[in-house]
């Protein structure tokens, strides 16, 4: 029975279903129990599943991730909520030196089925550390997997798939899209957790995006269509591992590629993608792969974030530059 719901509520439903399916799933985080999380993603779950399964932790991100490692060693599947992207760094040590490496260190004897939920990205007028896009740090780390969801259906299925997955997954939630609505059909067959999806067909330029920028890219494609330009939009969805075969197929047809993300462009996901697309599609490219992203600055104060964040116009500007090359 398909329902229209917000992305935030879809996550809540997905978490609920994962907890019903597997008694070993334990949610951990700051303010996720009685309050239901600052974004209410875990609303009502502690009431229904109890304090042992929805744990209001002390305030310490390293503590959340470090104890998740121990729980995983006992056969639990911890789902850790980091309240905001910029607060993940106190846990960075545990994530990078322990969570990511224990499977390799133990030669597979200590699996780490841990999900690290991070509301990421800007556009909500917040104070410092509440609007960042830290995905490249995690995608650069062997042993982690990284996904970014973009729609309610994606969120509903993605969180369940991430929880069921045997490896640690950094699960990025586009916080400014928490209130966006979409259809979620619990009886549908979901796409793969680590698969990219072509979300709009087109012939002239391939535009790649993930998380909050998927909607921006689709809006750009709509406007471009009115100007007689046909953009193909791919939602990458998986950032590590990348699933670029659909991208290569697309770029071989269009000959042009633009990558969009909120994170700073230097050494961001776009840089890796540009290198791979260039290597795989060298003879098909009509223009260099262009990147649209945040500037190489700290995330700015809220009054300036529209100058910093890629928007529809900056995407179209890159499309123009690609076509004009």
């Amino acid at each position: 029975m398909a329902d229209t719901t917000t992305l935030g509520k879809a996550l809540n439903l997905g978490l609920r279903r994962a907890m019903e399916d597997d008694a070993k799933v334990v949610l951990m985080g700051e303010d996720i129990g009685r309050l239901g999380g600052v974004f209410r993603i875990t609303d009502g779950l502690q009431k229904d599943f109890g304090e042992q399964r929805v744990v209001d932790t002390p305030l310490g991100e390293a503590g959340i991730l470090g104890t998740a490692v121990g729980l995983a060693m006992r056969g639990y599947r911890p789902v850790c909520e980091i309240q905001f992207d910029g607060f993940v760094f106190p846990a960075y040590n545990q994530i990078v030196t322990q969570v990511a490496k224990l499977h390799a260190r133990s030669r597979g004897r200590l699996p780490m089925p841990i999900v690290i939920r991070i509301p990421f990205g800007g556009g909500i007028g917040a104070v410092e550390h509440h609007s960042e896009s830290p995905e490249a740090y995690f995608a650069h780390t062997a042993g982690l997997k990284v996904v970014a969801v973009s729609t309610p259906a994606d969120a509903y299925w993605g969180i369940q798939q991430a929880i069921a997955h045997p490896d640690p997954v950094v699960f990025l939630e586009p916080k400014r899209r928490y209130w966006e609505k979409g259809v979620v059909d619990p009886d549908a067959t979901p796409g793969p957790l680590f698969g990219s999806r072509v979300v709009r067909g087109g012939d002239d330029v391939t535009v790649l995006a993930y998380g909050p920028m998927v909607k921006t890219a689709l809006q750009a494609a709509e406007v471009a269509a009115g100007e007689g330009r046909s953009l193909e939009v791919v939602d990458l969805h998986a950032l590590s591992p990348l699933d670029l075969d659909p991208v290569y197929d697309s770029v071989r047809r269009t000959g042009r590629c633009v990558v969009v993300h909120e994170a700073p462009v230097t050494l961001g996901l776009g840089a890796e993608i540009a290198a791979r697309v260039t290597e795989a599609c060298f003879h098909s490219l009509e223009a260099p792969v262009l990147r649209v992203g945040g500037y190489d600055t700290p995330y700015p104060p809220a009054k300036l974030e529209e100058d910093y964040l890629p928007d529809l116009d900056r995407v179209l500007d890159a499309v123009d530059r690609s076509l004009g090359f």
Binding site: P58, G60, G66, T67, R74, G75, N93
Partner: protein, 377 residues
């Protein structure tokens, strides 16, 4: 009074007649004096049979023999590094032997003595320092987690594991090992907060060996470490770390309390690292020879041997037999180390994930093809 002297006064309230690090310590739990005399402590009765005493002595001697052999192997170029436990044998054997079968140890990188008590093959520890693997033992089967090199990170793992034990209703506890330097780490403090908040069945076993590489304990704390526990809301106790009986009794009691649901305990095993931090270290740059001489008088093996001799629990034949067993162990370690097969290059790819990625599978295939290209040439 300068800040520094005030600090020293707080840490060593009665510098008095010993070395700077050996103040008179009324709070120190001791069941065996440095001279090997058995004394009683009102809180820590220990009923230990003659057989158990001999077994503890055997543990101490064999662990030291292993350590000496590994240090020699490093000097001969067979190991990249070795972290010696010399001086800390009693702390480690006492703590390890206090554990029950279902308990789980979370070591640093120096707990070879605890590994021994968990029946981890010494060669599986040595293989890590030889660079063959990251520790060859099975942490689940042995109840002894892999070594953790990032200081203090394992204390949170132990606490989370204990929270899992709690949820499982298991009659077991986690034993988190840490050093004096680790007590300055934020993660260790978080671990103690989590443990206290959830009354997790975990015991923090801190071997205060007086130095974090070169930094003396005064650089880490202005109060005796065991007193930190009260700030977190659970008991702290300082035990003579060179007295295997006291360590055994104190750790047993703490683990029993944890299993019963009384929550965590912080144990400060007051000891001394007789050797270097690792084989790459030169302790002569930061500590005085006089200190070593003082601590040598408190040697954990000599003290137990004196007790066994004085009480007639063991005789020369027994000591000779243990030494002979040590010789056999040393030979096994030597030949086993030299005979370790070289790991296959493809191993670097094989356990990164439970479910490997297409990218990694491709890199592995390219690695194999690249190396195969030399064979064909």
């Amino acid at each position: 009074m300068s800040v520094l002297s005030r600090t020293t006064e707080l840490v060593d309230p009665v510098p008095g007649d010993g070395a700077p690090h050996l103040p008179a310590q009324p709070d120190l739990v001791q069941l065996l004096t440095p001279e090997g005399e058995r004394v009683e402590h009102p809180d820590y009765a220990l009923d230990v049979s003659a057989e158990e005493l001999r077994a503890l002595y055997r543990d101490l001697v064999l662990v030291r023999r292993w350590d000496v052999e590994a240090t020699a192997l490093q000097r001969q170029g067979e190991l990249g590094l070795w972290a010696s436990l010399q001086g800390q044998e009693a702390a480690q054997v006492g703590a390890g032997r206090a554990m029950a079968a279902g308990d789980m140890a979370f070591p640093t990188y120096r707990e070879h003595g605890v590994a021994w008590t968990r029946e981890v093959d010494p060669l599986h520890v040595i293989s890590m320092f030889r660079g063959v693997d990251q520790g060859g033992w099975d942490p689940v089967a042995t109840g002894f987690n892999l070594y953790t090199v990032v200081i203090g990170a394992q204390t949170l793992h132990a606490t989370g594991y204990a929270m899992g034990l709690q949820r499982d209703g298991a009659d077991a506890a986690a034993l988190a090992f840490l050093g004096d330097g680790a007590t300055s780490q934020g993660e260790v403090n978080e671990a103690m907060i989590w443990a206290a908040t959830f009354a997790a069945p975990v015991v923090f076993f801190c071997q205060n060996n007086q130095y974090a590489i070169s930094a003396p304990i005064e650089r880490q704390s202005r109060v005796p470490l065991y007193q930190r526990a009260s700030g977190f809301g659970f008991p702290g106790v300082r035990v003579d770390g060179n007295d295997v009986l006291a360590v055994l009794a104190v750790t047993r009691a703490a683990l029993a309390a944890a299993r019963e649901g009384s929550g965590p305990t912080f144990i400060e095993a007051f000891t001394y690292r007789m050797g270097a931090h690792t084989t790459s270290d030169d302790p002569s740059r930061y500590r005085l020879a006089g200190e070593l001489e003082e601590w040598a008088l408190r040697d954990p093996i000599a003290r137990l041997k004196a007790h066994l001799s004085r009480t007639g629990v063991a005789d020369r034949d027994f000591f000779d037999a243990v030494d002979a067993e040590g010789d056999e162990l040393a030979v096994r370690i030597r030949t086993g180390t030299r005979g370790m097969p070289e790991p296959a290059g493809t191993e670097i790819f094989d356990h990164v994930y439970a479910e490997t990625t297409p990218e990694l599978a491709q890199q592995r295939a390219e690695f194999v093809a690249y190396h195969a290209s030399f064979e064909e040439a």
